[in-house]
């Protein structure tokens, strides 16, 4: 056993982690046993991947509708191209905005280039929250729309098992 994983071991570890982290007292020791490596080597590799951004954290994916978060709004705005970075950062930092991305316009079908997700329990509350947010940020005049979801057909979290993978957006 060495203190670092060789390449095949690292690949095998990644594959094991794609299935999730085993729910045992010492998960990295359990994984190390599968690889024929040491617990410290596995933990060190996991830390490196975490720091390097291969994954964002070891955490959970929630079925947010089951937890009462039924009002899921996609706020889309038509922002002048020159201002989109500044306004994107501004809205992304605002409380209640869970995700904020720039996406392309597809004229004439689609004019909006900035997307924010806001989740709440009640639709009216989310509507008020977003109008207040835009007013506070001085953005109410920008053309925008709120697209509430009314049905979830498929929601599966963060699975990635190449080559036939599933992902979380």
């Amino acid at each position: 056993m060495t203190l670092t994983l060789d390449h095949p071991q690292a690949l095998q570890l990644r594959r094991l982690l794609e299935a999730g982290l085993p729910l045992v007292s010492r998960p990295y020791a359990w994984l190390a046993e599968q690889l024929g490596a040491s617990e410290d080597a596995v933990l060190e590799q996991v830390r490196q991947w975490n720091e390097g951004g291969l994954f964002r954290r070891v955490g959970v994916v929630l079925k947010h509708r089951a937890l009462g978060y039924r009002a899921n709004a996609m706020l889309v705005l038509d922002v002048p191209d020159a201002a989109v970075d500044a306004i994107g950062r501004q809205l992304g930092a605002a409380p209640g905005v869970n995700l904020c991305y720039q996406r392309p316009r597809r004229l004439p079908q689609w004019r909006y280039n900035l997307f924010c997700m806001v989740h709440g329990r009640e639709r009216e509350q989310v509507e008020r929250q977003i109008e207040r947010l835009l007013a506070e940020q001085g953005l109410s005049e920008l053309p925008h729309q709120l697209l509430f979801s009314t049905r979830a057909f498929k929601q599966c979290g963060g699975r990635f098992a190449p080559p036939a993978e599933r992902a979380h957006g």
Binding site: G20, F55, V58, M74
Partner: protein, 147 residues
């Protein structure tokens, strides 16, 4: 769901500590014990409150690609088209939204070419044009749900 479940879910959304005995560390924080916490996570996975526990991979760092896409589906065809997407492993989630573009879904593929191929397949199978909106810039990702 009781107070301990709520604390545990809120805490785990920020990530499990990367230490040898993460459950011991968490038990100390939450004033519980590690075996109880593991049993709670297992129960929450079993009843569907949690859909995954483990590292949240960044698919793009693995060479994969994501996109957000939409379809404008005639009302009478809605369930039929939803079923087409449901059957495709590349479709990560799919929501009906109140808009002329009424079906919004995320595609995740192992390669960027896979996205184009999947969109072409959806267009061929449904006869509908896909609005493809890949992200160009990320300003914020912080999907936390207080429970």
């Amino acid at each position: 769901m009781d107070e301990l479940d709520r604390q545990l879910i809120n805490r785990l959304q920020h990530g499990l500590p990367l230490v040898r005995q993460p459950w011991e560390a968490l038990a100390e924080e939450l004033g519980s014990n590690s075996a109880t916490l593991r049993a709670r996570v297992q129960a929450l996975l079993d009843d569907g409150t949690l859909t995954r526990f483990g590292p949240m991979f960044d698919i793009e760092r693995l060479g994969g690609a994501f996109t957000l896409a939409a379809l404008s589906v005639p009302e009478e065809r809605f369930d039929e088209v939803a079923a087409v997407l449901e059957a495709m492993p590349e479709v990560a989630h799919n929501y009906r939204r109140e808009h002329a573009w009424n079906m919004w879904f995320v595609l995740g593929c192992a390669t960027p070419e896979g996205i184009a191929e999947t969109i072409a397949r959806i267009e061929a199978e449904t006869g509908l044009a896909v609005l493809n909106l890949p992200k160009e810039e990320t300003y914020h990702v912080g999907l936390h749900f207080a429970v």
